[in-house]
Subunit: 216 residues, 2 copies
Amino acid sequence: MAEEKKISMAVIRRLPRYFRYLSDLMKLDIKRISSKELSERMQITASQIRQDLNCFGGFGQQGYGYNVEYLYDEISKILGTDRRFSCIIVGAGNMGNALANYENFSKRGFDIVGIFDVSPDKVGTVINNIKVLHMDMLPEFVKTHHVDIAMLTVPNSKVNEVAIQVTELGIKGIWNFSPTDLRLGDDVIVENVHLSDSLMVLGYRLKESMEGRKTS
Amino acid sequence: MAEEKKISMAVIRRLPRYFRYLSDLMKLDIKRISSKELSERMQITASQIRQDLNCFGGFGQQGYGYNVEYLYDEISKILGTDRRFSCIIVGAGNMGNALANYENFSKRGFDIVGIFDVSPDKVGTVINNIKVLHMDMLPEFVKTHHVDIAMLTVPNSKVNEVAIQVTELGIKGIWNFSPTDLRLGDDVIVENVHLSDSLMVLGYRLKESMEGRKTS
DNA sequence: TAGATTGTTAATCGATTAACAATC
DNA sequence: TAGATTGTTAATCGATTAACAATC
């Protein structure tokens, strides 16, 4: 057991993109595709596609290309789309609400099983069929339900504290929506969204282009 | 006029992070900092910090380091935090709501001046003091109000169409929340959020770590 | 078989890190 | 002046691209 080879983050971050394009190809009823054709659609080099895919195995056939459905299935497996992850949302504000109502997540294997907040206005309300519980209930909840991921949409000032709490409760994945960079131990995986960073980059690029410069 | 030097996206994407850390330092009343100290806080190399900053100019002083407030101001200027951008939100669903209510944006210079939707349930409602208008009003609105950025939180199936529409109306920046990669002309800048990509990467990394492998 | 296209190795490019002379 | 730390050049590392032999 164990193909070694460490796969770089650059490659991993492209996987969902391959997944999306292959899913689209299937909808278009396209049965096979060469790295060249795919490269034109995705606007990346064919070379990169072949390199990326060969990190995980030889999914193609010389002279033929790739079978779309087969490749889709393989990338699904790599991404773990077959698995289901139990998720809680901490922070039932507008962003928490948006996440709780986003049906695509459950389609991809991410089930929201609990929502938590401290505000008396929110505790007891129901969002997408899930009752919002008080943060005080969190430890008990995590002990009685299996939880893989905590989606943190709490105010920036509280996020560190909450992150430490969920980590201590044994939750292994954090989806962080606050601007704060969480610094936690090695046994928790943090994926950041940092919306305001993204918006500021847009502002920067816009400013540059208005001044007549090009960005990349 | 015109320092040339093309600045790489890798550097640009780190700017908001510098901005955040410097902002924190100011709150802590720290007046000066060396690249070495900052590197320990930010978990990147001192060398990278100096390289990054020197893309834009020599903001430090040998033997002293960087004056926190001065550096903060300079990065603010680079990022264009002094400017204001007029933004509209297209799609008044949960995500549109979340964005409309996120007060940090206006703090950073991004003002929401209009919200649009097609659903009769939503048109006419008021979100954070802004009345939701029907999409039919969009062309007229953009002609009478200056709009820099369109934040697109419409369903995936509609996003291409909407993106083309706002581009044709002369809007220069798009903040895209749909999974679709927009392919538009050179005179519009697109910044993607791709939440589900981010979540799938979290799923992948979690799966790998559960199987005992390490990611990066 | 001939043509096409992969898997994979080698070359290139760009980004990060190290080193150090300049200078506060 | 001596010590500290930058700005900047050079070295290293990793990621992307090109090339081509293997093979369907």
